[in-house]
């Protein structure tokens, strides 16, 4: 239909001005008017609906965040407003033992011994061990891949890191429990418990190597070649150029990578749930001993929710207080990582 109109328009340009339209031309004019009406810009309801449906899809991610915040906050508030719990005690008590509730206790009478510090300590300690492993190894492999490795070597080695990144964490947990722990136990002179913080920490380190490595490699690769060449031109060796020119120039990206790796370690659940044990760390007697059990925040949530705890019990609600702590701290780490990489990025033309 449209092509028909188009063809006629070409034959006779519209509106022979000043002349009386003949009968045929009159019909044409009416048809042109119809066509113009058909093509006129008008609200298209279907298009509008689609637009809002798609907007809704985009908003689902907002709902998710809002949901996470609301769910955790409201239940955490319910938890904190119970008589037997005080927020200050929650963040300062060094004991997590809700089962040992004794209303007549001499220490903090009337309060359930439910302090998040032992869980927080185990989380930070295992993550720290992970970073000790992952920062040098991740950075080292990033430098090697970006600066030293020939194209072919890089193309074969990078997929290996990707495979490592894709391994489900429950498998890594199995690895920590059945390989790393016996390995540590075989070292003479160490008194390593079956469940300990060192093994999951080390395996989490292996887990975040790919994260740190790939982000660091991006940061290193984005340092322009001119900087390296200028450094070579001044007589620096390749290694000196890397440590004194390239790495400082890429520093913001590297720091962002480390922080993101830390966030992943803090939020990791399965490795610690399987290998770090289900007893809260003993802050008083075994502080900073990596070879004893220490349940982390994530491990605790996984173990308790997996059990048969009634949904209205204090301990169940306490999980959401932990969840909120976890959410806020990982979110903060992520935001800091983004901020560092934006704020301190060296802009090169």
């Amino acid at each position: 239909m449209e092509s028909e109109y188009g063809a006629e328009n070409e034959q006779s340009p519209p509106a022979a001005v000043g002349r009386q339209p003949g009968p045929v031309a009159a019909i044409r004019m009416r048809r042109d008017a119809d066509l113009a009406a058909a093509l006129r810009k008008r609200p298209r309801v279907g298009e509008m609906i689609i637009r809002y449906v798609l907007l809704f899809c985009g908003l689902v991610s907002i709902f998710t965040t809002v949901g996470i915040v609301i769910v955790n906050t409201t239940t955490a508030i319910e938890f904190f407003t119970v008589d037997e719990v005080s927020p200050i005690d929650f963040f300062t008590n060094t004991v997590w033992r809700p089962a040992a509730y004794n209303p007549d206790a001499t220490y903090n009478p009337g309060l359930i011994p439910i302090g998040v510090l032992p869980l927080l300590y185990a989380t930070l300690f295992t993550s720290f061990i992970a970073l000790i492993v992952a920062v040098p190894l991740g950075l080292g492999s990033a430098i090697y891949l970006a600066e030293y490795a020939p194209e072919r070597v890089r193309n074969t080695l990078k997929p290996i890191l990707e495979i490592l990144a894709g391994i489900p964490t429950v498998v890594l947990g199995y690895f920590a429990l059945t390989f790393m722990t016996p390995l540590l136990q075989a070292i003479p002179g160490l008194n390593v418990q079956i469940f300990n913080m060192a093994a999951p920490g080390l395996v989490m380190g292996v887990m975040i190597i790919p994260t740190i490595s790939s982000m660091s490699e991006d940061a290193i690769s984005s340092v322009p070649r001119e900087l390296r060449e200028a450094s070579y031109g001044l007589g620096a060796t390749r290694f000196e150029s890397i440590t004194k020119v390239v790495l400082p120039a890429a520093l913001s990206g590297l720091v962002a990578a480390f922080i993101l790796g830390l966030a992943r370690a803090v939020g990791e659940t399965m490795i610690v749930a399987l290998a770090a044990g289900s007893a809260p760390a003993d802050l008083l007697n075994n502080f900073l001993n990596p070879f004893v059990a220490g349940e982390t925040m994530t491990g605790h949530i996984a173990r308790i929710t997996g059990g048969d705890l009634p949904y209205d019990s204090i301990q169940y609600r306490s999980l959401f207080a932990i969840g909120l702590t976890l959410f806020v701290s990982t979110l903060a780490l992520n935001l800091i990582s983004q901020w560092v990489s934006r704020r301190f990025r060296e802009a090169y033309e």
Partner: protein, 494 residues
Amino acid sequence: MNTDNTQNTPNPENPEQAEDGAPRVENVNPTGGVALPDLESFRKRLVNRQRRGSIWARFMSLSLVVAIVALLALAYNIVDAAFGYVLTENVIEPTEVVEFVLTDVRNDTTTDPATVDLATLGASELAAVLREYQEPRLRVYIRDFLSVVPDDEFTQAPIRESLAGSSFRGQFADLTINDLDAAEWTLILGNNIPQDRLVGLVRTEVIGERILETWSLTESVTGFAEIDEARVAAVEGQNPNARLEFRSWLNINFLISPMSTNPAIAGIRTALLGTLWVMIITVGFSFPLGVGAALYLQEYADDNWLTRVISTNIRNLAGVPSIIYGLLGLSVFVIALEGITTGRSILSASLTLGLLILPVMIVNSQEALRAVPPSVREGSYGLGATRWQTIWRSVLPAAMPGILTGTILGMSRAIGETAPLLALGASTFLVVDPSGPFSRFTVLPIQIYQWTSRPSDQWRSLASAAIIVLIILLLSLNAAAIYMRQRFRRKLQP
């Protein structure tokens, strides 16, 4: 970007180059104001500097080697536990059971029992075996497999209620299960339970294969003498029927048997089906949402505050620990929406995982849409198409391979997720196949977690066999993604 040192950049670590550079230093020295070191000490220091550089370079390549070694150790550790010798013993030998069926049920004394496989026996024959060897427990089997009422009401409820949906003789409809006799129980078992489940039941309850001891692959290969000693000790001691066999824990029976309390016959059937169901619904939920959100952000949205909030939010959601999604799913899908999702169901699990992989799906789809050249859109607009017509007929088809690749990658993230499902309350011991979105669920990673957290070696071996299945699933998903990406790339090239 890797500087190609052999061709255009000077190579500072190359000794020949260093000797080239040396005379120049000598030329500069007498005229310059700065006191440069003399040639001798410069060369000496240069050698040291370069040595230090190459040592560090070796350390850096070593860090990759450590990652590779870790990966190899992981593979070794899994394979080591998944294969190896086991010392097993049957309470009653299968040939004895077959012989009973042949002589007492079929009245066939000519066939050699050794030539008939237990798995080929009929359902009624297997029920007869159960009656012969485990008569007191027949009602327990009926309750476990067929009852639709709570366990504590089973013995009081009339059969028409307790066994609703099963077939039984009409005249017994108002009686309770205790009013019937063993012959009737046997009939109900044989008529209602599928043959393969009865085979499993006979294997556990009658034959009762037990694993006495297990050895890893390494031990099996290197220390057979010790293993044989253990067998001899067992045979001469309390287990005269003990047999030594090389067992691949990953086998057909492992794939098709449900969970069991007996590691000798436990399998991942329920978990595999659960994973399948969960994956299908997860993708069905998050694919349209993910693509829709990506379309909005990429094709519709102006650069305003709302768009920026959505994008920032998606970026940050990707970094939220998965256990937090578990808490969200627990409160929203399991508890608040229990009326719709029926609580701890496949649907709740899928919705939770769907939200979890949504950021990945959106980001990948956005990338695929960005790769569609603007000329495609402009051509479509030029022909008078509306925005949605342009998207639906031109942009989406062009971006689809990229979107599908991203979807597969999202799936491979979801398939290995354990923590959120653990928090939702995945079933830890499920023998009934999931039948739809509202069934209770267990998935492969949950099963692996369960088995790993048990102390004995037999469960660890099962866990490693399940890990192999999971990793094969993951690798095939990734291979599919890589294949699609390659095909897509070839198509785009003229």
